[in-house]
């Protein structure tokens, strides 16, 4: 008998037992949708993390001061004052370095007209916008000339604009008092939103680092900066640049072999890789859980098929009596199992995509529909159907028709 006729027979049997068929498929539906959702979560989370990290800046390296030991007490990283603007200039001369910006940070009360606000004042170089890939909303960023002149100019983040100029007036050309020093607003930064750690990146005022050191922090004569941001020429040269900076600074700081660095060079690519690796680990974990649930779904199919074979013993006996070959019986039950798991798998894929969309909305990350994952989950479901459907099917095919017909 033809396979089409067999598929028809199997389909009729499934439709005749609607409730049981649906219950049988439930395991597959849950298993497959779990696989699709988890893979989608994994891919979406990975994309979100990598977007956040590339958002920090292009090929970014961060140099911060190391810890100091004072009378046996070790301070934390970044506490020491060891980095100078000259270190930054020296780093800028390294071959594979695209841009360098020293950073001097301070928090201060700022006043504009009748409004005041407490915010972060970030002293940076003009290269900062390039290094952090940060764009202007209006006006322009300060220049090397402003830097050289320690010019009293500033660029405002959007949160500061909202708080100092609430009426929507144009801040350009206005004066902002930072620790009673008047700075002229020459530009506003594009909105950036929260950082990966939840900090409001728009709550900032940028000024030339020279102006910051001279007029605000009073570190001009000591000449120390809090941080040096470095942009490598390209991604592959990041580790090279990292080593070169370390070598250069050890030399400049006269650190002999065996002594600890008094600075720290952080490579954001490492962080990105670590994040990606943990996302991958998570994905494998979730996929593992999902595969287990698929297996359980398959065993569910086997159980119900076994019950079904027992329940339909007389039907099987009759089919054999009216001339079904045992291969026909085997195929009928196998096809039933495969159709059940296949249809269950399809429903699972649809539910999975819907679920993945919902999770993406709640998780605020890009919706990812993993086509390969869906195909894998679906074929795995069908394979499970064949694998777990075979035993009940062969049990049915080898029934003794006489016993089967007498079965009550």
């Amino acid at each position: 008998m033809s396979i089409i006729a067999l598929v028809r027979v199997a389909w009729e049997a499934i439709v005749r037992n609607r409730v049981r068929s649906l219950l049988t498929m439930l395991g597959m539906i849950i298993g497959v949708s779990a696989v699709v959702i988890t893979i989608s979560i994994g891919v979406g989370a990975r994309e979100a993390v990598s977007a956040q990290i590339t958002g920090l800046g292009s090929n970014l390296l961060i140099v911060i001061p190391g810890s100091v030991t004072l009378n046996g007490v070790r301070t934390g990283t970044g506490a020491a004052s060891t980095l100078t603007p000259e270190d930054g200039l020296a780093i800028a001369k390294l071959p594979k370095v695209a841009a360098v910006s020293p950073g001097v940070g301070v928090s201060a009360q700022v006043v504009a007209g009748e409004n005041n606000w407490y915010t972060r004042i970030s002293g940076v170089a003009p290269t900062f916008t390039y290094i952090r890939e940060w764009h202007m909303a209006s006006g322009s960023f300060f220049t090397d000339a402003d830097d050289a002149a320690s010019a009293k100019v500033c660029v405002l983040g959007q949160t500061v604009v909202e708080n100092l100029f609430p009426g929507g007036e144009n801040p350009l050309g206005k004066t902002v008092l930072i620790r009673n020093v008047p700075f002229t607003v020459i530009g506003t930064l594009a909105r950036r939103g929260q950082s990966a750690s939840g900090q409001d990146q728009d709550d900032v005022i940028m000024i030339p680092y020279t102006a910051s050191m001279q007029r605000l922090t009073g570190t001009w004569f000591g000449g120390f900066v809090n941080v040096i941001a470095v942009s490598a020429a390209d991604q592959p040269s990041i580790p090279l640049v990292q080593n070169e900076i370390t070598e250069l600074l050890r030399q400049r700081h006269r650190i002999v072999a065996g002594m600890d660095d008094d600075f720290d060079v952080r490579n954001l690519q490492d962080i990105a890789n670590a994040a990606a690796a943990s996302a991958t680990t998570m994905e494998f974990l979730l996929a593992g859980v999902a595969v287990v649930s698929l297996l359980v779904g398959g065993i569910g199919i086997m159980n119900i098929m076994l019950v079904s074979v027992t329940e339909r013993t007389r039907e099987i006996g009759l089919r054999i009596a009216v001339g079904a070959r045992s291969a026909s019986i085997l195929l009928q039950f196998l096809i039933e199992a495969v159709v059940l798991s296949g249809v269950g798998g399809l429903i699972g894929v649809v539910l999975g995509i819907v679920g993945a969309g919902a999770v993406a909305i709640f998780g605020h990350w890009p919706m990812a529909v993993p086509v390969v994952g869906i195909l894998l989950a679906f074929s795995f479901a069908a394979l499970t159907g064949i694998f777990f459907g075979y035993y009940p099917a062969s049990k049915a095919a080898h029934l003794d028709p006489i016993e089967a017909l007498r079965f009550e």
Binding site: M1, S2, A5, R8, V9, E12, R16, N17, R314, E315, G317, L318, R319, I320, A321, V322, G323, A324, R325, S326, A327, S328, D400, P401, I402, L405
Partner: protein, 241 residues
Amino acid sequence: MPDTPVVRLVDVHKTYVMGDQSVAALDGVDFSLDPGEFVAIMGPSGSGKSTLMHVIGLLTRPTSGQYFFEGQDVSSFSADDLADLRSRRLGFVFQSYNLLARTTSLENVELPMVYAGVHADQQHERAMRALEIVGVPEMAEHISNQMSGGQQQRVAIARALVNDPSLILADEPTGALDTKSSEEIMNVFTQLNAERGMTILLVTHEPSVGRKAKRIITFRDGKIVGDGPTAEVFKHETIAL
């Protein structure tokens, strides 16, 4: 060859082994059934008449002896060959009808054609014709549990004859029916035999049912103990049924 018997058994034995005991359900049966015959096998329960039915119906193989179905020695046939013979040359009617649950009469009657490889286009028409022959064409779209026992058994007979078999085997076909339905079903068999020349072999322990057949074989302890035309058999009061 019109003279070739539909069924010919030569010294057939069937022994069941239960534990260390073996039971001879068929103990040297010689028997022949010609085309157009209407035969009832009668005997007490446990006499082996059901086993004989199963052997003739190709549902089980004899332990020893020869079985010629339409002249062919089927002892060398594979299981698939036997399945094909069952689907094309045999029709079964059971005591408990054995219609598929939640399935229409039409689909039930179509079932043997599915396995016999009858083209899907012809199945509907042939099933309808079979339902007309047994007198229940109006039941075509009814599902089995909406019908009376007599109606279900008629559908089952339609299913048995739909592939135009050379032999219909009926195992206690009236066992679950009341007297009136019983009589109606027996009339269907009588008609099939008389008008269509259908060869029918039925097993029963009810004399009133056996009386409708043309030839009666009495069976006891796995052996044929009597074989003759119905009128003759029922003349002798010695027969204990």
